[in-house]
Symmetry: C2
Subunit: 345 residues, 2 copies
């Protein structure tokens, strides 16, 4: 014989609260929603019972009834990257503040997995989707799959879609970094790393080329080096770069990890970053300030971007017909030792 288990079976509902406080379910509901219609005395009585019974609101039931949703699907291409992890925290914080919750999915940059995760999350009827898309996402296909679902796309543009978009000011960031190196006297500057078919890499390259152009410095096409945006690949690509004659004295790197890999490559060749060769990164990951020499880079505040994405999505949910927005968040140049002191030639 199984012992009766301490009310694990039946949950406390508005019914129980109503019964215990001698009012109807409707009144309890009004109390829960903070309606001014209910008398202070009654409210107090009900609230006491809520506490006494340990009632916990069933938001799913309420959502069903009102045909609303208090969740948001958050799909991240690479959560192991601190940039996206911080972004996710920002989203989570902003949502909790608005009584919502984030349904987490991560795709590991796989388009197939992204689709599976999206399918699974959709069944939980999110109010909308914040999507940091995997590389090579098929826009039209996704648009068909998601229909009129509110969506905010983060970081990478998805060609062929009409959704709100939030990204960093990649172009201006790369421009600032390049101008900084130019102002120190560098002329032979590479743009190093990233995949040339990603929108963020293209934009950063444009910023770099623009600054070079404005300064009247020719950018050798060999100075645009592609490589996967991580340390291992970057170190490898740096080795290759230094096997040829190029006369470079500085590099604007696609991001901090690329810059840190570049740094390792320099050190292998006995070159001192910041002294023999100047570097800039992008993102301002915590390590940028910690490494020696500290890395000049662009601060992008991913946590704040997360909050911003959540705001954008909630606005879109409220007004599905508002015009589509493109928000380009500013970035800030942080000058540190890796870019060195002015050159005297």
């Amino acid at each position: 014989m199984r012992p009766a288990r301490p009310n694990r079976e039946r949950k406390i509902t508005v019914n129980d609260v109503a019964l215990a406080s001698g009012v109807s379910r409707a009144t309890v509901s009004l109390v829960l929603r903070g309606s001014p219609l209910v008398h202070a005395k009654t409210r107090e009585r009900v609230e006491r019972q809520i506490a006494a019974l340990g009632y916990v609101y069933n938001r799913a039931a309420a959502n069903l009834r009102t045909r609303t949703s208090s969740s948001v699907a958050l799909i991240i291409n690479d959560l192991s990257n601190p940039f996206f992890a911080e972004f996710a925290m920002g989203v989570g914080d902003a949502l909790v503040g608005a009584g919502h919750v984030a349904l987490l999915g991560s795709t590991g940059e796989s388009v197939e997995w992204q689709e599976a995760v999206l399918g699974s999350l959709m069944e939980h009827s999110p109010a909308g989707i914040i999507l940091s898309p995997a590389e090579h996402t098929d826009g039209p296909h996704l648009q068909r799959m998601l229909g009129h679902e509110p969506v905010v796309v983060f970081n990478r543009e998805i060609p062929g879609t009409q959704w709100d978009f939030l990204a960093l000011d990649n172009r201006n960031g790369a421009r600032l970094a390049t101008e900084h190196l130019l102002s120190l006297g560098h002329r032979r500057i590479a743009f190093f790393g990233g995949h040339a078919d990603s929108s963020s890499c293209q934009e950063r390259r444009q910023g770099y080329l623009g600054a070079m152009d404005a300064a009247g410095v020719a950018a050798d096409p060999r100075c645009l080096v592609e490589c996967a945006p991580n340390r291992v690949e970057s170190r490898q690509a740096t080795r290759m770069l230094f096997q040829q004659e190029h006369g470079l004295t500085a590099a604007v790197c696609y991001n901090d990890n690329v810059a840190l890999g570049f740094k390792l490559g320099l050190m292998e060749r006995g070159l001192r970053p910041g002294l023999d060769f100047a570097l800039t990164g992008f993102d301002d990951i915590p390590e940028a300030a910690q490494t020696t020499p500290a890395l000049t880079t662009l601060a992008v505040d991913p946590r704040e971007r997360g909050r911003q994405a959540a705001e954008l999505l909630l606005e879109r949910v409220r007004d599905p017909d508002a015009p589509v927005r493109r928000v380009i968040a500013p970035v800030r140049l942080v000058v540190r030792d890796s870019s060195g002191t002015p050159l005297h030639d």
Copy 2:
């Protein structure tokens, strides 16, 4: 006058599918759940309509009806730490595989925020909770708050609670690291970093002390140095350490970040890590393999821990009365250059 908006208002439900395929709602439900009771012909007809109408299953409604839940609250103390981010990815992957979804909350090590986040997530009726608790969590209070909710605690023990617990084999890991340094000939070895009141730090210290003891080497109490488990604090504490005479030749560090901070401290003093001083870390973060000299450390596979935590929780949900479990996941020593070559004295 507002134009009629393309069926954004009304969602397709089982009713619509039933009507379109000329069966009852019940039959559609059976098809959805893959019941063998329904005739192949009928099933096909229904499935065609499901596809044609673009029906998407409303899991929340089903959960309400069956008094079940397909979500799991995932509360992480520090998502910006790649160790926990990887853990979260593992949880997410395992849950999606089981038709569940993770409700993400992060606390930033704040007990107050943890409570707020828990309260918010509870209203979404998760089937259970995976909790990587903030430091100084009040066990009895939390136990009261969560009642009989299924909970799996990760990484840090919460005194005064009776929940399933998953953690790393901290003791054995630190023992392995210490034995490794001893085998290289080191005798004056510090245990460096971590907060002495955290359970993981205590366990690692015990492993260290056990190995020292077993080797018949006295561990000077001054060799137990406390510091916050990050690079900045560790570098600072390393400076302090080297201001006094200690005769140390090696340190078992609380984790990789502490070890990397220690390394910076060594370099400031002109000491070469791996040659003049041996180091070990804990976690095997990606940087451990990338840094020079590469860091000897303990691989803990956080992604797999996440999957494991999800499994544990789902089992607990299925059988709330099973005995409480403590699962201690193995760790693996990865020897790299930072621990140097055998000492010849």
